[in-house]
């Protein structure tokens, strides 16, 4: 360990409505993997944007490798040896790995636009070998898996000379196997002398991968711990503060387990008219949570939409036993009206119900009462019905949606990635509400890429791969390894 690669002191960043960073200190030792953890809205992203030169702090100092730094843009940060691996990949799909890596700083570029393609390939192959980031430099990006694409992103950063890598929730899109591969890669990078800042809120990963962790909460640093000297529980406690973690004890359903949803050989066309869901059959009982695991983009969205009646089945039959509540995977796109008030978002889809309106008048009193109940039941913060949805944090936005859909008393609740990008406290609450919905006799279809979530809530689990059900298993018999295989398209037993 040789000194501090990154040192941030007293960082303050104010936005019109919030102080995103309020006197943050962060010290990262050179050659380590350092986790930055915290709930959504804790200020992690803002801090990393400051470190990468995308945002200027209002107060505070940065030093990189012991030298004071003042970045006026990402270009300065790159020159200082900092690289950012974004959560959403920015790759040109029809180009090769080498072309993607060098894009924007091609070797031997001439005025007429020619450049040294062989040199680029060789250089990328060299980097790939030196840092142990395995990917074929001449492969076309669109043929790669998600894990490989991520490695291309890492190579892009290394090619630009980064010694300090920022990875923003890199495991969100990976299968368990790909996560393992990523961790190997990152450990290899550490061995080659790189410093890595690993942003996450998955504590298991942090415990198994990192050397140290800094915890942020509400714009402040709570503390930094060596992983060897801390525990998952301690970190969790630091993250959520004095809030109590409730045990997710599944409440058993005691009613009659009638079928609420049945799919028979259902196929659905995807955005490019291909069959995204291929002959799926399933049955959902009252008082049961059916977990749908799988890497995103394997037909989950189409499954959710066909169950909710938002898209038509190309083949097969969907039979619903009652009203459907739907927590869509993309809350900004499909769940919320960001510029509208919280109460309007809570009302959306229920505005014709006699409780809330007559044909010519909205019942403002009843609506406000309903809104206040959601605020109380879900601990919505800030507790303001008039605030625009877009001004709430991600977790609180999700509470608005879940509150709206659960309070419909649905017979079927489709929850797609209900806690993605949602902080710990809100996640726990949302899980609680899903279990309450189940206990009240609804069937829940829980679609999630987060295996922990699926395992902790479901009674039965199916895995979707390439539009098909790879397998089904009761939770009691579920093995991570087997689910992982199914998620990767390997059937086996």
């Amino acid at each position: 360990m040789s000194g501090l690669a990154v040192e941030l002191r007293g960082i303050v960043k104010r936005y019109p409505r919030v102080v995103a960073n309020d006197g943050v200190d962060l010290s990262v030792e050179s050659g380590t993997i350092h986790a930055l953890i915290g709930e959504n809205g804790a200020g992690k992203s803002t801090l990393m944007k400051i470190l990468y030169g995308m945002v200027r702090p209002d107060e505070g100092t940065l030093s990189i490798n012991g030298k004071p730094a003042d970045f006026s843009g990402p270009r300065d940060a790159i020159i200082a040896g900092i690289g950012m691996v974004h959560q959403h990949f920015m790759l040109v799909k029809p180009l090769s790995v080498a072309e993607n890596v060098v894009l924007g700083s091609e070797p031997g570029a001439s005025a007429v636009g020619t450049w040294d393609q062989d040199g680029a390939k060789a250089e990328v192959a060299r980097l790939s070998k030196e840092y142990g980031v395995k990917v074929e430099s001449s492969a076309v990006v669109e043929t790669l898996s998600v894990g490989e694409e991520q490695r291309v992103e890492i190579l892009k950063v290394l090619y630009r000379g980064a010694k300090i890598l920022i990875l923003d929730e890199p495991t969100a899109v990976l299968t368990p196997h790909e996560c393992d591969e990523l961790f190997k890669t990152l450990k290899g990078l550490r061995a080659a002398g790189s410093t890595i800042l690993f942003i996450s809120h998955k504590l298991k990963e942090v415990m198994s991968l990192c050397d140290a962790a800094t915890v942020m909460r509400r714009g402040k640093t709570v503390g930094t711990k060596k992983i060897s000297e801390t525990s998952q529980n301690e970190l969790a406690q630091m993250m959520i503060g004095d809030l109590e973690i409730k045990e997710k004890a599944a409440v058993p359903y005691r009613g009659e387990a009638s079928e609420v949803l049945r799919l028979e050989n259902v196929s659905v066309r995807g955005p490019r008219d291909e069959l995204a869901l291929k002959g799926v059959s399933l049955s959902l009982k009252a008082g049961e949570v059916l977990g749908v695991a799988g890497v995103e983009g394997n037909g989950q969205r189409e499954l959710a939409e066909v169950v909710c009646g938002l898209s038509a089945a190309a083949e097969g039959r969907v039979t619903r036993g009652g009203r459907v509540g739907y927590v869509p995977e993309d809350r900004h796109h499909a769940g919320l009206m960001l510029a509208a008030a919280a109460w309007e978002n809570m009302l959306l889809g229920r505005h014709w119900e006699p409780v809330f309106s007559t044909p010519f008048r909205l019942q403002r009193g009843a609506i406000a009462g309903y809104g206040r109940k959601i605020i109380a039941d879900y601990d919505l913060r800030p507790p303001e019905l008039e605030q625009e949805a877009g001004a709430f944090s991600g977790g609180n936005q999700q509470k608005i949606i879940v509150g709206r859909e659960v309070s419909k008393d649905p017979k079927i609740l489709v929850a797609a990635h209900p806690t993605r990008g949602v902080d710990w406290g809100a996640s726990a609450l949302i899980h609680q509400k899903i279990l309450e919905t189940k206990a009240a006799g609804a069937g829940v279809l829980l679609i999630s890429a987060d295996l922990d979530e699926v395992l902790s809530l479901s009674d039965r689990i199916i895995v979707l791969f390439s539009g098909r059900v790879m397998g089904e298993v009761a939770r009691a018999d579920a093995k991570i390894e087997k689910l992982g295989c199914w998620m990767a398209g390997v059937s086996g037993t």
């Binding site: 960043k13 936005y15 019109p16 409505r17 919030v18 995103a20 959504n40 809205g41 200020g43 992203s45 803002t46 909710c308 938002l310 739907y326 869509p328 796109h333 499909a334 769940g335 919320l336 009206m337 960001l338 510029a339 509208a340 008030a341 309007e344 009302l347 959306l348 889809g349 505005h351 014709w352 809330f356 309106s357 044909p359 010519f360 008048r361 909205l362 403002r364 008039e386 625009e388 877009g390 001004a391 944090s393 991600g394």
Partner: protein, 335 residues
Amino acid sequence: MMKALAREGRWIAISLGITFAVLVLSILALRQNPLTVFGLLAERLLLKPYGLGQMLYKATTLIFTGLGCALAFRCGLFNIGAEGQLYAGAFLMAVVAPHLPLPMILLIPACLAIAALGGGLWGLVPGWLKAKRGAHEVITTMMMNFIALALTNYLISAHFHEPETIHTAELPVAAYLPQLPMESSAVNASLFVAIALAFAVHYFLWSTPLGFELRAVGSNPTAAKTSGVPVDMRIFLILVLSGCLSGLAGINFILGYKHYFEQGFASGAGFMGIAVALVAKNYPIGVIFSALLFAFLSQAGLTVQSVIPRELFEILQGLVILVVVICQNKYGGAE
């Protein structure tokens, strides 16, 4: 909503301040005394019943078209076809009303209904194209403007004009809306219809479930659809309703002033409706004040053209829109 209003209000105030500053500087640059000019404006426009009446008359038409535009914009559709919808409504009313043997108490509501119907029909075409074919409303409403203007011109000159004139037959007296007693100015009871309509549209959008639904379509059509709103049907409805409102604009001239349809009588009031709605931030009540502002600027140019070129006030009308658009409020925030 009140909070949002207060926030928008601040920006509007800033915009108006900037416009006023430019006005003062321009007057100085023209080597005139701003106080003299403002004195003239007060004396001849604001304090004189005729001047004030003319201003209110102009504002009346703008309230109708402004409401038509504001309703569509508020619901996420950039309907720029108010001009064509205005002519379609006015023309239909002007050619049908003379043949209706009804007493006043029925004839006037019938006229209003026909005008709204005509405008609504003109909004129906882009609405249908948008809902069924996804055709962009900016293109289709714009094209419908050309069609409305050319078609009414043709129909009047070929079939409906009175001999020796370029206008249609006069309406029966029973269809006249009373003039307001402001010297010989054109202001008439249409003003009250317009103001009442602004409150009605406000009530509709913010206090009825259907209005809520239409605003939801404007806020995020995908979220609305996900929540079970039949978005295509609603888009159709929005453009029809928007057309109805603009279609009513013709009553100011036809029922309240000249009592016939004349080519080009609205002189761009449909297009001004877009500006009125923008400055009003698509709030129906705001449209009343925004229409008054534009009517004031338009009338002010005429009132003081002996000392200040009228074009200055036309420039100011453009400037108000620019400044308001530039001062769009955006909420900032972390992450």
